[in-house]
């Protein structure tokens, strides 16, 4: 009989990056890399688990922007082109490394992985959302939603209409894709401010996640800490708090698993390592070196000397680490059970892109974990939030504390010198959008199109990713550009609608470029 629960959550998100106006656009690679290194490997893990009849449970966010990109025809075609290039490159690599068998076997590994990626991609008719949906329909995966464009809610608190629009657009988008409403939401960056649960409730959302201190610093005190969900006062929306101990083991590159010396080194990529003329066709057309995804070294140690990667050793470590993770959860649950009158729930959320992209062996680790949890023990039961709530409907009522899972636990990552300038523009645009909705409650035709596009532009400008990139202080020009672009497009639409001078050709052009959420209704922004 199990003594406690484990809820693994993967948050899958990328900002909307799609540039039909350019033939080749560097930042679109974020998506292609994540498809090859994270989303497909996860799908392979799920497929094999189902095939082997392993009863696993996983919760996963697919953010509306990610879903939109994964189902976009242009990006699908470009991904194929991208993966074909990688296949070509790995053929060259196999030849080039003829006298270096330790590298040649890795080049062959990459070739196989890329070919398999292409096959699976085609198998799901190039739309990976349908693959994830399949596992949701099988009851193994619970897919939750996220804010429409990953707006960071604590910075939008003065414009609740925008928070509402972010939530409502996400919910209806989810419904159109999965055929039912989402039960849960991942608040972008776990950014929670008391009261926002009211907006979640309006949208029919049953639960969300916070970082540990969101629950622990709630009022009144949470009786079971983060080891049981709570209901938000007045709304009854459930909040699940992150367990930091299990988090650290996976997140930390220093004390966590991904830092193991046998694992693949993320920062050594042939895009940077190989001779320029040779690699040129596979990096940016302007000759800027980029990651290709072909990496030959293991972490090795703290110094610069890196040894060749050995997949077998890495695989063994992944198995060990999965066993260690589970063992630690068992100990944790046993300890907690000593003074809890109910079975503790351990919530372990991670960025999905940590698995595979950042931590190459992450999907393998997850695979081992699911198998061990399902077959080798019964102290811990893996569970989704919905299952937990239906089995444990009685929970404490508190008001969680404002918090995020970002750097230092609050809002500083998104509010500091390099990015604080954006908020006067974002807030002004939000207020103007509210004004437009009031002024034109039943627009039709061209005016309606312009108003819908205005909301798209507003939402796109609110992506927390832009502020995040600016906050990291490196390579910020794209993030700055996107923020400005959307604010300016919104501003022009705002003027044009009111002066009744909408330029249809220009509108069609930005509808074509920023084509996210085709069924959006501007009136949700109120």
């Amino acid at each position: 009989m199990h003594k406690g629960y484990l809820c693994m959550v993967l948050h899958g998100h990328l900002p909307f990056v799609r540039h039909p106006e350019h033939e080749d656009f560097l930042e679109e690679d974020w998506l292609y890399e994540a498809i090859t290194e994270t989303y497909l490997p996860l799908i392979w893990v799920f497929e094999k688990l189902v095939e082997d009849k392993v009863d696993f449970r996983l919760t996963m966010t697919l953010s509306p922007t990610l879903i939109s990109m994964l189902s976009d025809q242009l990006l699908e075609e470009r991904y194929l082109k991208h993966i074909n290039k990688l296949i070509e490159l790995s053929h060259h690599e196999i030849e080039r490394t003829t006298w270096q068998p330790q590298f040649q076997s890795l080049a062959t590994m990459y070739l196989n992985q890329f070919c398999r990626a292409r096959d699976t991609f085609e198998y799901y008719h190039r739309n990976l959302v349908m693959a994830f949906k399949k596992f949701q329909d099988l009851g193994k995966l619970e897919i939750i939603t996220c804010a429409a464009t990953h707006g960071y809610f604590p910075m939008m608190d003065v414009c609740k209409e925008s928070v509402r629009a972010q939530v409502k657009v996400a919910v209806s988008h989810y419904e159109s894709v999965f055929g039912r409403k989402p039960r849960g939401i991942w608040l972008p960056e776990c950014g929670y401010v008391p009261g926002h649960d009211e907006i979640l409730k309006e949208a029919g959302i049953k639960f969300f996640f916070t970082d540990s201190h969101g629950i622990l610093h709630g009022t009144p005190r949470p009786k079971y800490g983060v080891f049981a969900p709570v209901y938000c006062k007045n709304t009854g929306v459930a909040a699940f708090g992150r367990d930091l101990e299990s988090s650290k083991q996976v997140w930390s590159s220093i004390e966590g698993y991904p830092g193991d010396y046998n694992y693949r080194e993320f920062y050594r990529d042939i895009g940077f390592d190989l001779e320029f003329d040779y690699i040129k066709p596979y990096i940016h057309p302007d000759g800027v070196r980029i990651n290709t995804g072909i990496k030959y070294y293991r972490i090795t140690g703290t110094g610069n000397n890196k040894e060749p990667y050995n997949p077998q050793w890495a695989r063994e470590r992944a198995a060990d680490h999965a066993g260690n993770f589970l063992f630690n959860r068992q100990k944790q649950v046993e300890y907690l059970q000593g003074f809890m009158q109910k079975k503790p729930l351990i919530v372990s959320p991670y960025d999905a892109e940590l698995y595979g992209h950042w931590w190459y062996e992450g999907p393998q680790w997850l695979d081992f974990l699911m198998r061990k949890a399902s077959c080798d023990q019964d102290a811990i039961r893996m569970i989704t939030p919905s299952e937990y709530l239906s089995e444990n409907p009685r929970n404490q009522v508190i008001t969680p504390s404002m918090s995020s899972w970002g750097w230092k636990g609050y809002s500083e990552m998104w509010l500091q010198g390099p990015n604080d300038w954006i908020y006067r523009h974002l807030h002004a645009s939000s207020n103007r959008m509210t004004e437009l909705v009031k002024k034109y409650p039943c627009a039709e035709g061209l005016q309606k199109r312009a108003l819908n596009q205005a909301l798209r532009e507003l939402l796109l400008s609110q992506s927390s990713d832009w502020a995040f990139i600016m906050g990291t202080g490196t390579h910020t020009s794209y993030a700055v550009r996107r923020t400005k672009e959307h604010v300016l497009r919104f501003g022009r639409l705002y003027e044009d609608v009111q002066s009744n001078s909408i330029d249809e050709e220009w509108l069609a052009d930005i509808e074509y470029k920023d084509n996210i959420f085709p069924n959006i209704d501007y009136r949700v922004h109120q």
Partner: protein
Amino acid sequence: MIRKIKDKIKKAASKKPNARKKIVKAGVRLESAQEARKEVHGFQEMVVEKAKFSHPEITRAHGRRSMPQELPGGYDQDKIVLMVRDPWWLHTYWEVCWATFERQKSELGDNFHKARRVLRVYDVSNIIFNGSNAHQHFDIHVNEYSSNWYIDAGGPGKSWCVDYGLLLPDGRFITIVRSNVVHTPIVGPSWITDEEWMIPEEMFARLYGMGFGLGQSSPVGKAWQERIKQALFSGAMASPGMASMASPVKKEVKQRKFWMWVDCELIVYGATEPDAKVTVQGRSINLRQDGTFTLRFALPDGKQTIPVKAVSADEIEERTVIPIVSRETKTSNLIKEVK
């Protein structure tokens, strides 16, 4: 108390975001700050999220990309917005129309020019603020070109409101714009425990500690609070906007970062009849349409014997060329003594 507030003001004044330039010069300082950051909550999450966007900058120099025009300088409104950065710090930005200042000017006459621009920060915890019932307030003097400010409110678990206005020489304060009210979160467990869900102090403490992954024996709660506080107030941990607070760098032996690496590749190329069959080291290769071929190999240390054999289409003629290549790598490193 007043001095304390003044100190705060001084600090706040030196924490303006435009201090960012300094950080570029103080490269060493930034590095140590980044080292220190690793200990802070959410740092790894940041590293991983950053890795999602792992790309070099494509600048205008690379052509094809242009920056959109600048955003408007203002929105022709009188407005001040207050936001919570963390339990201790607030951020505010404001905008006042030209016309509003003109009106003040004509009302106040000479006094307008003598007045100082001030942010008045009110503690409005648990009250409905009417402009005069705040528990306390403090002023921050800002110059007329400022339009945003980080405020060291220093009070978790409180409610705040801020006015932007004019402080006249006679001590009168004239509010130009008033902000929204915000609430800073508490930084420890709540003191409120409702009766139905009473929970023994010690048990909660253990849960609390485990929740933060601090283990069973750690000084629960306090450790966390101390850690965050230190992180926020020590210069080493400062965000770029707080660079000027950074503590002086200790003199340490500088870690040299000079480096070099060299590798060799070998290009084997040639030509034959386009319909010939060619093998290299026994492995058949494809010819280009004109019968030429190029192979490229990473060349490790040691001797490579590379037989290249071409067989004519009618299999009557055969030619073999065998380049033999050897590589030997020697290295030496020299670090000169620096006096």
